[in-house]
């Protein structure tokens, strides 16, 4: 301790006693630095950080948007595909039922047509038969009368003759029939 006192007396510096001017110098220098840092340095770096973050986040947002768009388009296509499929099925079903309907209609028509033709044929046959019967009936009378007249006119004595008369009658009848048929 004695030495220290001697040293102090000799103008020796005690290292933990500050020089007031050194404090002032550091204080002023630090204040200037602090001012520059607050006003310029920190805002400049924060701006760079913010811009970079924004650029990256903007890119991400854009990518997300594109993704969403693509998803929406895919969804739309799927929907359209489903719709088209439903439509196709519907059309096919319709066509099938329509075909069946047409077939049924045709079948019905054909059946009715054949029935109509058959009916018509029946009617015609009946009419022809009736006509034949009528004409036969009229002719049989005449024939009988004629036949009787001839038989009577020729005198029925000669057997051979009467047989000839009958034969001739029948031949006439046949030839008449053949003529009528012609």
């Amino acid at each position: 301790m004695n030495e220290a006192i001697i040293l102090a007396a000799e103008g020796e510096v005690n290292p933990i006693i500050p020089n007031i001017w050194e404090i002032v110098v550091v204080a002023i220098a630090f204040a200037i630095l602090m001012y520059i840092v607050v006003k310029k340095v920190v805002p400049a770096f924060e701006k760079i950080y913010a811009e970079r973050a924004e650029a990256i986040e903007g890119g991400i947002a854009k990518a997300e948007e594109a993704q969403a768009e693509a998803t929406a388009a895919l969804e739309e296509y799927k929907q359209q595909l489903t719709e088209a499929r439903t439509e196709a099925n519907r059309i096919r079903d319709e066509a099938r039922s329509e075909g069946a309907q047409i077939l049924a209609d045709l079948k019905e028509k054909a059946a009715s047509e054949s029935a109509r033709i058959t009916e018509q044929a029946h009617v015609q046959i009946e009419a022809e038969r009736a006509a034949a019967v009528t004409s036969l009936r009229a002719e049989v009378g005449t024939l009988a009368t004629e036949l009787a007249g001839r038989i009577v006119g020729e005198a029925l004595t000669d057997d051979e003759r009467s047989a000839r008369v009958v034969d001739r009658f029948l031949a006439d009848l046949e030839s008449e029939n053949a003529g009528a048929a012609k």
Partner: protein, 267 residues
């Protein structure tokens, strides 16, 4: 004090004269009244110019893809902002303290690094005044932050730890007051100052030792100066590490003190 006094006792014997602390204070370049404009003053002002110029040029372009210099500036800024501000103070309000932490870190760092640069060779904080100023400024700031955040209740939060039995409080409270409010600024400033002064003294002692040994007449004694030189180089790298480390520690403690004041209710 004994160690500091040693040179005085050996001075008269014509042997090795170790440099004294007084020699860390160089004669002023010029004086205005009692104000001495010294190398120390010049270096302090120069540090402001270096830091401001570097970071303003680095950030000037503000390019999305940074140049090498901008990248360096961004990394340095990001280190203080994220590794110290965000990680320690955290929350939403750490940005408020980033300019302070940034200024302190680079101010201390550059002023320390001076000690490792040939010719400059003077860590500014080997003079205690600057260290006192920064520590006291930080002391005012964190106490101010504490009172602003918690009001008068901050006194209780800072001195009465929760979960302590009542009968220990008369013992704990004075300890807390002394350790938190009185010892902190002293240790905060002296830690920086002492490491810088010690590093500076080692350089001076090594330099003086080499000079002394080289001027000896005995060739063997001259040869031992090489050993001193090797030791001095090793010490130089250790000192360079300590210079960076002390700047980091100083700003780390600043952030821790502020965080402690902000979240005094959680501690």
């Amino acid at each position: 004090m004994i160690a500091l006094a040693l040179p005085a006792t050996t001075q008269d014997e014509g042997g090795f004269v170790a440099p004294t602390i007084a020699e860390t204070h160089l004669p002023p370049l010029f004086s205005i009244g009692s104000f001495d404009f010294s190398k120390h003053t010049l270096l302090v002002l120069l540090s402001v110019v270096i830091i401001a110029a570097f970071f303003m040029i680095a950030a000037k372009k503000g390019a999305m893809v940074p140049s090498k210099m901008q990248f360096l500036g961004e990394s340095a800024y990001g280190f203080v902002r994220n590794s110290i501000g965000k990680d320690i103070i955290g929350g939403r309000d750490f940005m408020k303290y980033v300019p302070l932490l940034f200024s302190i870190f680079f101010f201390v760092l550059i002023n320390n690094i001076y000690g490792a640069i040939p010719l400059l060779q003077l860590p500014t904080f080997s003079h205690v005044g600057g260290a006192y100023f920064l520590a006291i400024m930080v002391w005012f700031i964190w106490i101010g932050v504490g009172f602003k955040k918690h009001g008068i209740k901050y006194l209780k939060l800072a001195t009465v730890p929760s979960g302590v039995p009542w009968y220990l409080l008369p013992l704990i409270i004075p300890i807390e007051i002394i350790s938190n409010f009185l010892v902190r600024p002293i240790t905060h400033s002296l830690r920086l100052f002492a490491t810088m002064l010690a590093g500076h003294l080692i350089v001076m002692v090594a330099g003086a030792g080499i000079e002394f040994l080289v001027t000896q007449e005995n060739i063997l004694l001259q040869g031992t100066s090489l050993l001193v030189l090797a030791g001095a180089i090793a010490m130089y790298f250790l000192e360079a590490l300590i210079m960076v480390l002390q700047a980091y520690i100083f700003v780390l403690l600043t952030a821790i003190y502020i965080e402690g004041a902000l979240h005094a209710d959680a501690h």
